[in-house]
């Protein structure tokens, strides 16, 4: 069995490092966007609209990955789009995690009426189609970065609450909690000092996965033109434009799609890799 375990760990390690490396690249690109982007991402040039990427016939080498229908540089727009994607991932991921995990901990540890109310809320939330719910919320509160973050938090807290609740319930039934209680420790103290550290690994995994989901939700909202103002570069907005002109200019769709694909894949593989790392059986 030892070799099998080593094999799993080695593969998980590679997956972890590749995902982390790509995400590090995205972070650096987002931080240095103004220095890295060859063009102004908003600058329109109707005379150089729909130029193909550099290796194709009729390309302008100044626009490495080509231009969209308004003559805006695809590469620069992808580079600046990483800022929105990462901001949404980090902020909404963290907020969703804080709120969802807190509610899950309270419900799973204290049970009783707290659990009853929170569980019923989770049931109600699960009965909403999430994409439709987020689109509806954005339509109500208006587009913008803050609205997107709010919509993600409002919709996705159940992801954390459900899992953390179950985990806290399982921990609460264990002997060490009973002995802590016998030792006369307060319930809040037990929750904070004993239960939380034990559910923290699963929370970290969920947080990583949630960041990937947040990037997708932002892209979906941009896709239906409900994200940030339409001329600000976002990957989802570019994909939406690319989908509309896919027969005339495939590169407007392909390059942001590949970037989004790799980023989402990295977040999810990082989460899965961490899950394996934290798994006591494998450790």
């Amino acid at each position: 069995m030892a070799d099998g375990r080593m094999e799993v760990r080695r593969r998980a390690g590679l997956r972890l490092w590749l995902s982390a490396a790509w995400l590090a690249v995205v972070v650096v690109v987002a931080l240095l966007a103004p220095h890295l982007a060859p063009k102004n991402p908003l600058e329109q040039d109707l005379f150089s609209g729909r130029l193909p990427p550099f290796w194709q016939h009729g390309a302008d080498p100044a626009f490495v990955l080509g231009t969209d229908s308004l003559g805006r540089d695809v590469l620069s727009r992808i580079i600046f789009g990483s800022r929105i994607a990462l901001s949404v991932a980090l902020i909404s991921g963290t907020l969703t995690c804080l709120i969802g995990a807190s509610l899950g901990l309270l419900a799973g540890f204290f049970r009783g009426w707290v659990d009853l109310v929170i569980s019923r809320l989770i049931d109600i939330w699960m009965a909403f189609p999430p994409v439709l719910f987020s689109i509806l919320l954005i339509a109500v509160i208006g587009p913008g970065l803050g609205s997107i973050i709010l919509a993600i938090v409002v919709i996705d807290w159940t992801r954390f609450a459900r899992v953390v609740r179950a985990e806290a319930m399982a921990q609460g039934a264990m002997d060490y909690i009973a002995s802590a209680r016998v030792a006369g420790r307060g319930r809040m103290g037990i929750l904070w000092r004993e239960v939380l550290p034990n559910v923290l690994p699963i929370i970290v995994v969920l947080l990583t996965l949630e960041m990937g989901i947040a990037v997708i939700v932002e892209a979906i909202l941009s896709f239906v033109n409900l994200s940030i103002s339409t001329d600000f570069p976002t990957w989802g907005g570019m994909i939406s434009e690319g989908r509309a002109s896919v027969h005339q200019a495939w590169w407007v769709l392909v390059f942001p799609l590949v970037t989004l694909f790799l980023t989402v894949l990295s977040f999810s593989q990082l989460g899965e890799g961490l899950k394996d790392r934290f798994d006591p059986v494998l450790r």
């Binding site: 339509a139 109500v140 899965e272």
Partner: protein, 336 residues
């Protein structure tokens, strides 16, 4: 707890959930900024006209009053009137429902077939490279949501190798002899296979995009259950009796391994239905989800409410069915 009590309890929680959904949608929709009435009237409409229309849609009353009136109507099957098309919401929504149901069920069928095939192949070829390949492909399929699969499929099979249609439900120039909106079912029933072909060539890519993540989930879970079953004594016994490995998997292991997968498929099916909203939009497929996004953009409050409630009824209905089936099949829940 007896089965009857389980059923009753589940019915009550389902009712509470649906009531909660109705309240939340109603409140959220009512805080939409922008007056939908003002958008319906031509510029230069008098205040009297505005007041009359506001009263017609009941928007002059308090939110609680509006909810009671609307709720009473819903219980009688009256979901109000759409603001943009001025037709009854129920008729509009039911008109689009068949398109979404056909797409979801087709996607579910594809996922079950592909996922089942992958699990059986992986079990038959345990420990080979094929099994490793299936695991890696499954991991990829699972990490990428249907939204991205849809775009990738559009590029691959709509643009690069254009073998499938990437927008609409059916070629618009075709004459449709259908009397209902279940086009696919009717085309089969009327033996109009030319139409079936056209419908499937439109539905294939969106259905596949919805099916890919579920395929991976089914493949993983079923393979895991099969693996555990393959170690059981009765399977070894069947093997010593000289049955072929394929037959042992198919006839002995599968019937016992399939129950957990079936339960999961039920729950995951609701996620798949939720995914139709954006996938229908992406493929300009004229279903419920596409109509929902239009309704949100047009601020058509009664229509949005109707669609969200219908989705919630479908979701809770599927979950209820899964739970009850599970309770009926599981002897521990039946008697315990």
């Amino acid at each position: 707890m007896t089965l009857l009590r389980t059923i009753l309890l589940r019915l009550i929680t389902t009712a509470v959930t649906l009531f909660g959904v109705a309240v939340i949608v109603f409140v959220v929709v009512r805080v939409v900024p922008g007056n939908p009435i003002a958008m319906m009237l031509p510029p230069g409409a008098t205040q009297v006209d505005i007041d009359r229309l506001t009263a017609f849609y009941g928007l002059d009353k308090s939110i609680a009053q509006q909810f009671l009136i609307w709720g009473a109507g819903v219980l009688h099957g009256d979901f109000g009137t759409s603001i943009t098309s001025r037709q009854p919401v129920l008729a509009l929504v039911l008109g689009r429902l068949p398109a979404t149901l056909e797409l979801s069920v087709l996607a579910l069928a594809m996922a079950v077939l592909m996922g089942g095939a992958a699990a059986l192949t992986g079990t038959r070829l345990r420990g080979t490279r094929v099994e490793g390949g299936i695991d890696i492909a499954g991991g990829m399929a699972l990490s990428i949501p249907d939204f991205l699969w849809g775009l990738i499929l559009i590029l691959l099979f709509g643009v690069l190798v254009p073998v499938f249609q990437i927008s609409g439900r059916v070629t618009p120039s075709l004459k449709l002899p259908f009397s209902s909106n279940f086009y696919l079912v009717e085309s089969l029933a009327r033996l109009r296979f030319d139409l079936t072909r056209d419908l499937l060539s439109h539905m294939f890519l969106p259905a596949l995009a919805l099916a890919i993540p579920l395929t991976a989930i089914i493949a993983q879970l079923l393979k895991q259950s099969l693996k555990e079953t393959m170690h059981l004594d009765y399977v070894t016994l069947a093997r010593t009796q000289g049955y072929s490995e394929a037959r042992v998997i198919w006839r002995q292991a599968l019937p016992n391994a399939i129950l957990p997968t079936l339960t999961l498929v039920g729950v995951q099916f609701t996620f798949l239905i939720g995914g139709t909203v954006i996938i229908e939009r992406m493929f300009s497929y004229e279903g419920l989800g596409n109509m929902a996004i239009d309704a949100v953009i047009n601020r058509d409050l009664p229509l949005i409410q109707g669609i969200v409630i219908l989705f919630a009824v479908i979701f809770t209905g599927v979950n209820l069915l899964v739970d009850l089936t599970y309770a009926a099949l599981n002897p521990r829940l039946r008697h315990g």
